[in-house]
């Protein structure tokens, strides 16, 4: 079981959180020509790295805020958590 530090509530059990996917994926710009390949990459393709990974998490049973987590997928170490506007 992980202990995750919510930037707003502090250290809480993983039970209170929901995983929200890869935080590095960027949606294609609005009102621009987007190729099928770009949509494909945005919707389906993920890097799935072994090592440090920037993720979105949702404190669903807490303050209900979204935030970013820098986590090592091999060791499960949480290196850093930050608000959505921040970067590691």
């Amino acid at each position: 079981m992980l202990e995750i530090k919510c930037p707003y509530c502090g250290n809480r059990s993983q039970n209170e959180f929901a995983y929200g996917g890869d935080a590095t994926v960027k949606r294609p710009e609005l009102n621009t020509e987007v190729s099928d390949q770009d949509w494909d990459n945005f919707v389906y393709y993920r890097k799935n790295p072994r090592g440090n990974h920037l993720e979105l998490w949702h404190h669903i049973s807490g303050c209900r805020q979204w935030f970013k987590v820098l986590r090592n997928t091999a060791t499960h170490d949480i290196i850093q958590t930050m608000e959505m506007k921040e970067n590691p």
């Binding site: 707003y8 509530c9 502090g10 250290n11 809480r12 059990s13 039970n15 209170e16 669903i60 049973s61 807490g62 303050c63 209900r64 805020q65």
Partner: protein
């Protein structure tokens, strides 16, 4: 018109569980809190309203995470950044809230009939929460509150008193039955008085 509280069918009054040879006056007491007004106050991002200018019965909105304030009739809980929950036994509290809150600054949502609330009072109250919630209660004091889970049910936990230890635990009304079962099941080993 009769009002049906969320736990009116579950909360059976009387002594339950392991209370042989125990002083009934010192037993854990569990009570459903009924007839309470609940409002969620959410300040808009674009608003410049200074929340220090808002108060109810001279209690201000807590600005720090995990804090609550109030008395027996009024609780104001920090829920998230710029979101508070106001619980009051005063039926006219909404008028006082609306008097101080402009429509451009706050979204006010009436949640009065959508929550089931149990008050757990007594020296074993802390153990009841520990049995079902992963929340770290080592530094939990009076006027601390937190949203967490209790046996998988999302709850708001508010410590309203420390002598005797008293917690208000609030869950969605639709979970009232399982929520009540989870709390009372955890209380059976200590014995409790449902009041």
């Amino acid at each position: 018109m009769s009002k049906i509280s969320p736990l009116s069918n579950s909360h059976e009054l009387g002594i339950h569980g392991n209370c042989k040879n125990k002083d009934q006056a010192k037993l854990l007491a569990i009570r459903e809190i009924t007839n309470i007004k609940i409002y969620q106050l959410s300040k808009f991002k674009k608003s410049n309203f200074d929340i220090n200018n808002f108060s109810l019965d001279s209690y201000k909105l807590p600005t720090e995470s995990g804090l609550s304030t109030g008395n027996e009739n009024l609780r104001i809980q920090w829920q998230a950044p710029n979101v508070w929950m106001i619980l009051s036994h005063n039926n006219n509290i909404i008028q006082e809230i609306e008097r101080q809150c402009e429509d451009d600054d706050f979204a006010i949502t009436d949640l009065s009939h959508s929550r089931a609330i149990l008050e757990v009072k007594g020296k074993d109250a802390l153990n009841i929460i520990k049995k079902g919630s992963p929340l770290n209660l080592n530094n939990f004091r009076k006027n601390n509150c937190a949203n967490s889970v209790y046996h998988g049910i999302t709850v708001s936990i508010d410590m309203v008193n420390d002598d005797p230890i008293t917690f208000n635990i609030m869950a969605l009304r639709s979970f009232a039955g399982s929520f009540h079962h989870a709390i009372t099941d955890a209380s059976l080993e200590f014995g409790f008085n449902a009041i």
